[in-house]
């Protein structure tokens, strides 16, 4: 049965990552934060139309979970998936360009903010329909199981998504077939503007894994140590034919749901409380406390990242629009 206590890792950063990797983890988290901040600014500035869904505050989940994967593993994620893509190594400039609708975007501008993909990185798809990417990850898990090379598939989704049929059917199928699929539930307490308890009869979604006799863990999703440690254990087990796992990461969406949502529906003080547990600040503090690096070292990393983001965003903004041509060949594979 599922462990229903909130898991918090007690391993040191050093033991878990080693010094150098720890800074790389830190860099990735900052990269995600800076990227999302820039997307927000670009939206406000009119450089992006349509919608964006950002993940500031959830960096420990995406960076920690992705760090547990190998290069040949698979991922599916959502409209709120920029962070997953960057953590996995997607080019920030190509990501910006996609979000800006440019020809140099990861999908040549055909996809957009909700659809960043890069097959070479195993970034199989970002799905804009709630829950729709989960079965796709299950399929990747079937491939992994059939190929017998120890690959795993990981799928990211929100708390609200656990109320949709696709989640349920996918959990059941993965468990019934003992597929190497890692279900990462980013429980950021809200689905759009609705607090979880207005739509869901329980707050600790880990309970749901019992319904499939699946391993389940509820973890501090703002602590990248905890995320990495838990996910790594599950991934290793899955690689070794140990079947799927469900990991509920308690976290918080520091921004609004989408576009320029000011998130006025949040109770007073809630954001401030969660800002105290900001995943990047928490990790930074641990690194300093463990004397793996100085504040100055990390400021330097942040400044580098800021530069990188500035360059990437500017480059993307300068990129050309896609040509207005016949798009049939992007719709169908045309025979030679």
């Amino acid at each position: 049965m599922t462990d229903r206590d909130l898991i918090q890792s007690s391993i040191t950063v050093k033991d878990l990552f080693g010094g150098k990797n720890a800074l790389e983890i830190y860099r990735k988290m900052v990269l995600v934060r800076e990227f999302e901040d820039r997307v927000h600014a670009s939206f406000q500035a009119g450089l992006i139309q349509g919608s964006t869904h950002l993940c500031q505050g959830q960096e420990a989940v995406v960076v920690g979970a992705v760090a547990a994967l190998n290069a040949d593993d698979y991922l599916t994620y959502t409209y709120r998936g920029h962070g997953t893509c960057l953590a996995r190594g997607m080019s920030a400039e190509a990501a910006f360009a996609e979000i800006f609708g440019r020809k140099t975007g990861v999908s040549g501008g055909l996809g957009g903010s909700m659809h960043l993909t890069d097959m070479d990185l195993g970034l199989l798809g970002s799905f804009a329909i709630v829950g729709a990417g989960i079965p796709v990850a299950v399929g990747a898990g079937i491939s992994a199981q059939a190929r017998k090379e120890g690959q795993v598939a990981m799928t990211f989704f929100g708390d609200g998504a656990t109320n949709i049929g696709a989640f349920h059917e996918s959990m059941n199928l993965a468990a019934a077939w003992q597929l190497p699929v890692i279900f990462i539930c980013e429980n950021n307490l809200y689905g759009e503007y609705s607090p979880i308890l207005t739509t869901t009869p329980l707050e600790d979604l880990v309970v749901r894994s019992d319904a499939y006799a699946m391993d389940g863990y509820m973890i501090d999703g703002n602590d990248v140590n905890t995320v990495y440690e838990t996910v790594k254990n599950c991934v290793d087990k899955a690689r070794d034919k140990g079947g799927p796992a469900f990991i509920e990461c308690k976290t918080y969406r520091q921004c609004g749901h989408s576009r320029s949502d000011p998130a006025k529906y949040r109770p007073e003080g809630e954001l401030e409380q969660w800002l105290q547990k900001d995943p990047i600040e928490m990790f930074r503090k641990k690194i300093i406390d463990e004397q793996l690096a100085s504040a100055g070292d990390m400021d330097e990393i942040r400044d580098e990242v800021k530069d990188e983001i500035e360059k990437a965003a500017t480059g993307a903004a300068d990129a050309p629009w896609p040509e207005n041509t016949d798009l049939t060949k992007y719709t169908y594979v045309i025979r030679d």
């Binding site: 501008g109 329909i129 739509t199 049939t328």
Partner: protein, 324 residues
């Protein structure tokens, strides 16, 4: 007569319904205190309370199916689907259950429910959030399918839908939310759903359009007028049950017909309209009927590509020029 936006008209029709009929319950995602992402239920939660304006979980299949259960047990639900594309996750309930329930019960039950679905492109939401939903529903007897193109439509068609004893899907267009127009709230709502409305009279060509295409066709007609071409513009309004009578009359007069729809050509209602014109007005057709539709690919995200995909005023003008 009042001037209101399309969005306001949607709210007004629901307010009107909630006030008149205590059996009406509205359900959808974030439609309560949040007033819905497109602000189409704004103020209703405050006015009518959480029992009648209900925030649902992200479970379209359950709450659309629940609407059927409510309708056959004495209530009248209005369900909001934030994007028409989400009909995919509750399609079974719409087309297998809701559309067929009365029939499978031998006609012994009425299914008075309304699904409002907001669709359409032009607002940079990408391939999974830009479909109008017209072609999805067109094949299914048992459903009524309305398309609101103006604030007046948005108000009256929704109000008529709510009063109907059949399941009605009202398709609305995201791109029209901020458009404004005159609404006579005291007019007879049912007259809006008898079929196509002639919005502009003309002599040389009949243009039939729906949803976001209607305004573009009116604009095109204006331009054509400057060139001496007189176009009659018809807002089709009701896809099911389809009444092509007024279109036929128009075509008999103009001898030529153009359909403009924000759908792919295959499965579009335009083919049906043209086929009916051919069947019933063969001798009146002077030039081959034409269609302007989406190209045969999903909606691209990039603004210039999306703009190029959606039938434009210019494309309509050119096509008509080519016809007459």
């Amino acid at each position: 007569m009042q001037t209101m936006t399309y969005r306001e008209a949607i709210v007004a029709a629901q307010r009107d319904a909630l006030s008149r009929n205590p059996d009406i319950i509205i359900m959808g995602e974030d439609i309560g205190a949040a007033g819905s992402p497109f602000k189409t239920t704004q103020g209703l939660f405050e006015e009518f309370g959480g029992d009648r304006v209900r925030d649902t979980p992200i479970s379209e299949n359950a709450f659309v199916g629940a609407a059927l259960g409510m309708a056959i047990t004495g209530y009248r639900p209005i369900v909001e689907l934030m994007f028409s594309d989400f009909m995919g996750v509750c399609f079974d309930q719409i087309v297998n259950n809701i559309a067929k329930h009365r029939f499978m019960c031998g006609g012994s039950v009425e299914v008075p429910l309304v699904i409002r679905a907001m669709g359409g492109g032009g607002v940079r939401f990408g391939a999974q959030h830009s479909q109008t939903g017209e072609t999805w529903l067109f094949p299914f007897p048992g459903l009524k399918v309305y398309c609101s193109a103006t604030p007046s439509d948005a108000f009256h068609m929704l109000r008529s839908a709510v009063a109907d004893k059949n399941p009605v899907v009202v398709l609305e267009h995201k791109g029209l939310m901020a458009s404004s127009g005159e609404v006579d709230v005291n007019a007879d709502s049912d007259s809006h759903v008898t079929g196509p409305e002639i919005l502009r009279e003309g002599e040389h060509v009949t243009i039939v359009a729906s949803l976001g295409m209607v305004n573009r066709c009116l604009e095109a007609a204006e331009k054509l007028n400057e060139e001496g071409i007189s176009a009659e513009v018809i807002n089709i309004r009701v896809l099911r049950p389809l009444n092509t009578g007024p279109i036929l009359e128009s075509m008999k007069k103009t001898g030529s017909i153009l359909v403009v729809e924000e759908n792919h050509q295959c499965g579009g209602w335009g083919a049906e309209v043209i086929s009916q014109m051919i069947a019933e007005g063969f001798d009146y057709i002077e030039t081959p009927p034409r269609r302007v539709t989406l190209p045969d690919w999903p909606m691209p995200y990039s603004p210039p590509l999306e703009d190029a995909a959606i039938p434009s005023v210019d494309k309509v003008v050119e096509t008509v020029r080519d016809m007459v």
